[in-house]
């Protein structure tokens, strides 16, 4: 096995995919989004839990490849007690990292452990897997602002 494969499937990623955090939809969310990747059937349903303008936590469920599930889990660790602007800032930073084709390190201040997903950006076919939960969060946020 090559080192690039090891950088794609880092230990942190494997741990999150085996024992995902905040897995299982909790009652009382303020908005929800379901995202599907039709090419491989990866699915994530993500719920926003908030208090006033603050997103206090996320809960989610889904199934799919190690990358999509680990990414949802890592995302749910990043989004704790943040206002909407701060959440959007993190989504934007993650998207930029995913589009970097391996040229960016990722801002750990913003993204925490989710920077380990940076290796995915070298595998164009897998970027969608990593983005799935983040797109779900963005979509759920749009629903709350529309409401």
């Amino acid at each position: 096995m090559s080192s690039s494969l090891e950088s794609l499937y880092q230990e942190v990623i494997m741990d999150h995919s085996r024992t995902p955090h905040n897995h299982g939809l909790r009652e009382g969310g303020s908005a929800e989004s379901h995202q599907l990747n039709p090419t491989c059937g990866d699915e994530v349903t993500l719920r926003i839990h908030s208090q006033g303008d603050t997103i206090t936590s996320l809960s989610w469920e889904g199934h799919g490849c190690a990358i999509s599930q680990a990414s949802a889990s890592l995302l749910s660790d990043v989004i704790v007690d943040l206002d909407r602007a701060a959440v959007q800032e993190r989504i934007d930073a993650f998207r930029e990292l995913m589009r970097s084709k391996g040229t960016l390190e990722g801002d750990e201040e913003l993204l925490g452990d989710a920077v380990v997903l940076g290796g995915v950006s070298r595998y164009i076919a897998r970027v969608k897997c990593a983005m799935l939960a983040w797109v779900a969060l963005e979509d759920a946020m749009a629903k709350t602002s529309a409401a």
């Binding site: 096995m1 494969l5 491989c40 059937g41 490849c65």
Partner: protein, 448 residues
């Protein structure tokens, strides 16, 4: 430019030495992927092309390129001749006449052509000759649970447009068509029976003659999806008695952008067109047009000439090697795949168990590891496989999964490639740290 040199081919079964020589005809098989020699096990999606086919296209483009069936200059006449000659060779390859072969972009377009022609007939276009294709309420279109989306959605849409009902023949736990159900479903209301010859997921081979007999007994038309059979086994569409059949050039050593619709001559001549425009008419006024007979009636617009010519070269190559020999070689690879996979803990094969006839392919699920991750691991070893639902979501749903990994072989694959692939699959469970709870299917069959 030569087809495989006849002197290097034997009469008996394909041998490893012969296959090694044939491999040299496929430049891409010499590529390195991720530091490993490429093992291409994705021919079910698209096949690689031998130099012979690439050169035929190049030769045409550098020496003859021009518009066919139009213009009187020398190149145009010669282009028309080689274009029509390719049609004749493809027709002979599947045991039919050249006026029964319509060029399409691919199999998908072929099926849509038939469905839209039926739809137009249902609106009265081409009546009275076309009335045998007209569908309405009370009529039934029958297909199967194992179809590629290309042989399902066009029929869903046709049913929705005409008021006809779509019915589906189920499969059993081994992926085989339930023939008892087929006998019940195919009845006096059935107008169309559309099914695949060989499943692109399970490798199941359907009993074409029995299904044709059931359909013809009630006066229904048969549409055969030959995408996974025309490239891999001797095919005599005339003898099988199907009414229509489709296949794609890119799955049989030919180019993308060209496919074939076969239709029995009397049917094609009675059927209204789908696409209309230039090259398919006799007389046009501002109010209406008269159409050419088949096949030109169904070939509106400028044609994919170089691709059709290259497909002609591809069937020459396949015929030179011998379709029966190709079939036998791949059948052995298919058995090697399925018996090897079935012996690995945590693997469930979709489709027939080892020892039962199947095409040279196998799709499988690794317990606890998503197909995408399986494919990624194999890709790192230079092994190209397909992951996902392979355009057959209902079939995957029937097996209770959303995705699988598929290895599919062709005449250029070797037993050593299959063995390296199996070794890679064995490593997958270790790499992803999954403890399998399923045991080899030979000892305990698990239905997903």
């Amino acid at each position: 430019m030569t087809v495989p040199d006849a002197s290097t081919l034997s009469d008996g079964p394909l041998t490893l030495a012969e296959v090694e020589r044939l491999r040299a005809d496929f430049p891409i098989l010499g590529e390195t992927v991720n530091g490993h020699p490429l093992s291409y096990l994705d021919s079910g999606a698209t096949a690689q092309r031998p130099t012979h086919v690439l050169e035929a296209e190049h030769d045409y483009l550098t020496r003859r390129n021009s518009a066919v069936h139009r213009g009187a200059h020398t190149l145009a006449a010669e282009a028309t001749e080689v274009f029509e000659n390719a049609r004749a060779r493809v027709a002979a390859f599947v045991g039919v006449r050249e006026n029964e072969i319509v060029w399409t972009s691919n199999a998908t377009e072929g099926i849509n052509l038939v469905a839209y022609a039926f739809s137009n007939a249902s609106l009265g276009r081409g009546a009275p000759a076309s009335s045998r294709f007209a569908l309405g309420e009370g009529d039934e279109i029958v297909t199967t649970e194992m179809e590629h989306h290309a042989n399902l959605i066009p029929w869903q849409e046709l049913a929705a447009r005409t008021g006809a009902t779509l019915r589906v023949i189920p499969i059993d736990d081994d992926g085989q068509l339930q023939m008892a159900a087929a006998e019940e479903i195919i009845g006096s209301r059935t107008r169309v029976l559309a099914f695949t010859h060989v499943s692109n997921v399970t490798g199941v081979i359907n009993p074409v003659e029995r299904l044709v007999a059931l359909a013809h007994a009630v006066g229904a038309l048969v549409v055969l999806d030959a995408c996974q059979s025309a490239p891999h086994r001797p095919l005599d569409l005339g003898a099988l008695g199907v009414d229509f059949a489709v296949f794609s050039g890119h799955k049989m050593l030919g180019p993308t952008g060209v496919g074939v619709l076969y239709g029995r001559a009397e049917l094609l001549d009675a059927m209204p067109p789908f696409l209309t425009g230039g090259s398919m008419i006799t007389t046009v006024t501002l109010e209406k047009a008269e159409y050419l007979p088949a096949p030109q009636r169904f070939e509106a617009g400028t044609q994919r000439v170089s691709q059709a010519i290259a497909l002609g070269a591809a069937v020459d190559y396949l015929s030179e090697v011998g379709m029966q020999r190709i079939h036998d070689w791949e059948a052995a690879l298919g058995q090697r795949l399925v018996s090897g996979l079935s012996a690995i803990p945590g693997i469930t094969v979709l489709g027939p168990p080892p020892g039962v006839e199947r095409a040279g392919l196998a799709s499988f699920v690794v317990e606890g590891v998503h197909a995408h991750d399986v494919g990624q691991y194999l890709d790192d070893l230079g092994i190209a496989v397909r992951v996902g639902h392979h355009c057959a979501q209902p079939l995957h749903r029937r097996f209770g999964v959303t995705a699988s990994t598929r290895a599919s072989a062709y005449l250029y694959n070797t037993p050593a490639e299959v063995d390296a692939f199996l070794e890679g699959v064995r490593e997958v469970t270790a790499f992803f740290g999954v403890v399998p709870t399923l045991y080899p299917q030979s000892s305990e069959r698990t239905s997903l």
